[in-house]
């Protein structure tokens, strides 16, 4: 056994014997303990702060004497005077081992910190971004040993980082000499560690010691909105968020109309490319101004988006995505200079686009997969990102399947007679009394129910203006539970249902939710509205059912609803409509903007990039358009909840009456012609 002092690090538990005089930073590095250092142990950066512990440690089997570390030295004193060292802290590069010692590495001194996520069921993110800073002293030029300034910088950086080979961005060749001289032959380099097999690259330089932090952008490039988060790459913290309407909207509300615009107008795709890039540059400007961050410090960016947006963003004509076989120009992840795609951030900023899964299942779905990690789930998870196109993932540790299904815009309130966007005044929650068939509801902007005292005063400014996406789901599901709608989706007459709220409108019945007031007519649900929702939910359910068939299962263990819509939807009501498969209601959870979270994970942890690339290659892709059983599932799924699948778990908690309002004239199947649409 060594007679050298024992050094024990917490929380890692790593331990080893080191000669008296060994700096703690050196010991940590030799043991592979995660202790940060930008300046390479020169006592400048203070990133390597540690907390020594003294006394008896029976758990570790050591006693730590008061003199187990060297006394404060001048570097620590100077640092403390200048910037203050918290009580009990030491600089790991200055304090040296004198006896057995227990060293705690506080979270802020760890490079690979855990970034806490709010939801209990998901893994935390381990911070491990593509970017790091390295401060070095560079040898001065010597006529006797001529060499370039760059070559001497590289020598210093290789020694500091342990990399054998480092490259440099061409744009840095010009500022290199002035920077080295301004920093008096010291410099801080931002080093981008690219994907496996690529050399690390210097992407920015600062004279002298630059303490950072560096920032990165995580962008969810939706067809309607662009949402960006600016993240501190040292802490993982989101320092600012911003969103804007996708400027491409002026070329078409939904994706297929944009594809059509490109087909009909020569150069139209490039107009849209320019528009979305311009929008992104505006977003970068807004977000960096808001956070007070220099664009020069924003050195990485990650993007998720659907396939059509992907192509339009990359400057690729989306023509092929508008027709079978829906061939993507490229599906793999892309590593680019941000400037290559027209982004005007810093000259060295990199851009990473997550891979696309298939022609209809884009990098946004890959983001969802990265965030929700079905491949790491022990139980079988169905993950649904609901939009005008639904991306559906089904899987567990045994494998993952994916498809997309053309739900259309009904879930977003389009095609619904009283439908509207989720905005103040929109009905979002509904209950219908199964006995009286009377509804009560809440609108966005007020916490009061419509039968609460003060409701009318509370909504005086907004009024009751329509029904938003989650509201229409609830109303129809409540109508179904109250016996106002039968399994085929027909609304009963006043006679059949016993309420005058049901009334004949043309050849079918409608249900009046709100009587209206002086300013606004009544709000009703028509049988056409129910048909639209039936078609949308049937598409969603049949996609999920198809994946379950492929997997050979009749039920799933849990359902995750991703996307903004998923965040507001009621699990019970969705299941009553048969949108999602039968499953315990407490196993239906919302993941929020999982695609955006996936972008943030890829930004904060570079290893997650190869993980998602590997997963995407392994995912079994199902194209619903060519699956014969899809149509059959669709027909069954048009019923409420389903004409074939029994939904026993749902029926054990919810009473579903089984009236039949078909008097021979209605279209009971709810089926009919569908056309493929893309997500918005």
């Amino acid at each position: 056994m060594s007679s050298d002092p024992l050094v024990i690090f917490t929380p890692s538990g790593k331990r080893g014997n080191f000669p008296v005089g060994t700096p703690i930073l050196t010991a940590a590095r030799q043991l592979g303990v995660d202790l940060d250092s930008v300046c390479g142990g020169r006592g400048i950066c203070s990133k390597c702060q540690i907390t020594p512990s003294y006394g008896e440690f029976p758990k570790h089997g050591v006693t730590v004497a008061e003199n187990a570390l060297s006394d404060w030295n001048k570097v620590e004193e100077r640092y403390d005077q200048k910037r203050g060292l918290a009580k009990g802290r030491r600089l790991g590069c200055q304090a040296t081992v004198q006896g057995d010692i227990v060293i705690d590495v506080p979270p802020e001194s760890q490079v690979h910190k855990q970034v806490v996520r709010k939801r209990a069921e998901v893994r935390e993110i381990t911070l491990n971004s593509t970017m790091s800073l390295s401060y070095v002293e560079v040898e001065q030029p010597d006529m006797h040993k001529p060499s370039g300034d760059l070559e001497r910088l590289m020598t210093a950086l290789k020694a500091a980082t342990g990399h054998d080979y480092i490259e440099i961005d061409t744009h840095l060749l010009r500022p290199l000499q002035p920077i080295l001289r301004k920093g008096d032959w010291t410099v801080t380099a931002a080093i981008h560690q690219g994907r496996d097999g690529r050399a690390p690259r210097i992407t920015a330089l600062w004279p002298g010691y630059f303490e950072g932090p560096l920032f990165g952008l995580a962008v969810d490039l939706g067809s309607t909105t662009i949402a960006g988060h600016l993240c501190n790459l040292s802490t993982g913290e989101v320092v600012a968020s911003s969103g804007l309407m996708n400027p491409q909207i002026r070329f078409g509300e939904d994706l297929m109309s944009r594809v059509s615009y490109a087909m009909m107008n020569k150069g139209g795709d490039l107009e849209m490319t320019a528009a979305v890039r311009e929008g992104l540059n505006q977003l970068v400007k807004d977000i960096s101004t808001e956070a007070g961050v220099e664009p020069a410090q924003i050195l990485d960016a990650v993007f998720v988006m659907n396939p059509v947006m992907h192509h339009l963003f990359m400057g690729i004509d989306p023509f092929e995505l508008g027709q079978a076989p829906f061939a993507l120009a490229t599906s793999d992840a892309l590593d680019l200079m941000a400037s290559e795609i027209g982004l005007d951030i810093a000259p060295g900023t990199r851009a990473y686009l997550l891979p696309c899964i298939a022609g209809h299942v884009g990098a946004d779905a890959a983001g969802v997969a990265l965030s929700e990690a079905p491949d790491k789930s022990n139980d079988l998870a169905l993950i649904v990102d609901v939009g005008t196109n639904a991306e559906i993932l089904l899987g567990d540790t045994n494998g993952v399947l994916a498809c997309s299904s053309p739900t259309g815009p009904a879930f977003e309130g389009a095609q619904i007679s009283a439908g509207q966007r989720a905005a103040p005044g929109a009905i979002e929650r509904v209950e219908i009394d199964p006995i009286t068939k009377e509804p009560r509801f809440r609108v966005i902007g007020s916490e009061l129910w419509s039968d609460d005292e003060g409701f009318e005063a509370a909504i005086a400014t907004t009024g009751v203006t329509g029904i938003c996406g989650s509201g229409i789901i609830e109303i129809i599901a409540e109508m179904r539970m109250a016996g106002l709608v039968d399994t085929s989706g027909l609304i009963g007459s006043a006679e059949q249902t016993g309420t005058s709220r049901c009334f004949l409108e043309g050849r079918t019945n409608s249900y009046r939710v709100w009587d209206g007031d002086a300013d606004q007519g009544p709000i009703t649900v028509t049988n056409g509205d129910i048909r639209a929702i039936q078609m949308a939910k049937a598409a969603l359910y049949s996609g999920a059912r198809l994946l379950m068939d492929k997997r050979g299962v009749d039920q799933v263990d849990r359902v995750v609803l991703a996307g903004a819509f998923g965040a507001h939807i009621s699990a019970k009501h969705a299941m009553v409509l048969g949108m999602i498969p039968d499953c315990p209601l407490d196993k239906v959870t919302s993941a929020g903007n999982a695609a955006g979270t996936g972008a943030r994970i890829a930004l904060l942890n570079r290893e997650s990039r190869s993980q998602i690339e590997t997963l995407v290659r392994q995912i079994e892709k199902i194209e619903t358009a060519v699956e014969p059983s899809f149509q059959e599932h669709f027909v069954n799924a048009s019923a409420l909840p389903n004409s074939s699948d029994p939904f026993p778990i749902l029926r054990s908690v919810v009473d579903l009456p089984e009236p039949s309002f078909n008097t021979g004239g209605g279209d009971a199947s709810g089926g009919g012609r569908r056309r493929r649409r893309r997500s918005a």
Copy 2:
């Protein structure tokens, strides 16, 4: 032993047994025989043509029967009808082994052809450029197995080329889908094989089969002229050459004045960067038009240049090169996109800059080293690239040293009273009769000597206008041999020399070479002219001598004169002046534009790039400015030929009289103040 037929390839001598039915291309690939193929054996490209030999081959120990190869098949017949197959030729991918066979691979079917160089003493270049073409059939998209068009292209290319990993230029993502469809799912890719450790990259695409050739540019970016050669990368042939004046000349004739311009004028360096890049783009346009080559086929470019030009070309302020310690921003070789340095060729064109050796010894000297390969020389070679700055290399297989020496512009006719550029009418050759002291000469533009009949008629249009650089060397050396100039460089008086051609002009004597005529006054050599040449040649010689000191030798085995000036200089006259060290006259050779040849080698053979990078790192760099013995060598070298070194070999073939014309008033040392200048 195998009973399979024996296949013997010539000229490689490689042999192996292969089953009946094996295509010759397959056998060649398995044996590592250098047999070209772009289409991967589909009978399209015809690059794999071979010549079978029949009959008795005692040398190889085989007898080849008439039916040793399969009969012509339909592919060969179709190819022959369409494009013609030379008699005796077969397509290596179609002809299969039926019996023992001897196969000759003609030079045009080899990838790694030898490119013949004109000079006997130098190695040939083995063709192995960075670029290759690969024709592939790409799997069509399939909704059941969704994948990007790019990913299927990559799969095909990896199979065809054997590369595990291939990348693609971003600019190709947009045209990819139309190209694949235009080529009906066949495509030819240009693949750039970068330096070790970098992935091969697709840099251009053509629909269907594109037979090439691809081209590359080798550019010698001089401070006065830019010379470019357009080379066929499949044959090594120079298909067009073009030169233009460096547009930077308007900012300063010589390099130091350009450095000054940058110092005195904010943004001046960027003006010069823009000027040289504009000039290069013009050159590319001229040269591709002249050769009738599409710029899209020019996919590689190699550059050599001195350090100041290097920095100005790269957009780096040359400020640091104007003062000690002459620090280069970067000395290593640079691999770039041509577009990164403002070159507007094809979007995928690459640029390679040879490494710089030191602050005064640039990539042009590296080009000379690559062309003349002193590191591979068994005898000790001194290689001198003469310009306004001389770059000097000394070495053999035991090692190479390098320095530069500030010769100034005298060798180019500047600072010489009757000096002029090498142009018609300039005196270029001179002889002086040692008895009569009468000169005879030749001027550029006529083959006649001045004492030949018809000389005056021959020069009627040009006249005799002055003395060019090589002419002044000859005149002074002839004056020295005729006893008109003493070892200290003083011209004798008419009395001392016995010829009235010597005459007093101010405080020193001059020599009248030509009496003049009605149009033009006499042409004379002044003692000032001799002083200027003495200083220039002393700088050159002392640089060489310094390297010889470092190497510990008193003489070299051979001298190579590189550069345009070196091509015209007379070895004997240069040695009489003591420009170059003593050595047998037949061991002094001219290498022409060796720097430009080095660029061409780096263009045609990618392995030569790592070779020169390694050599440049190994070269021992000597900075003359900090070597104390340089001054002493300089003083000694001011004498004609030298006041210290005896030049015994020269004296064994040339009579050097030893008069002394110093009457106490002259400056016998020939030394004096010098200032550092850079090569032009």
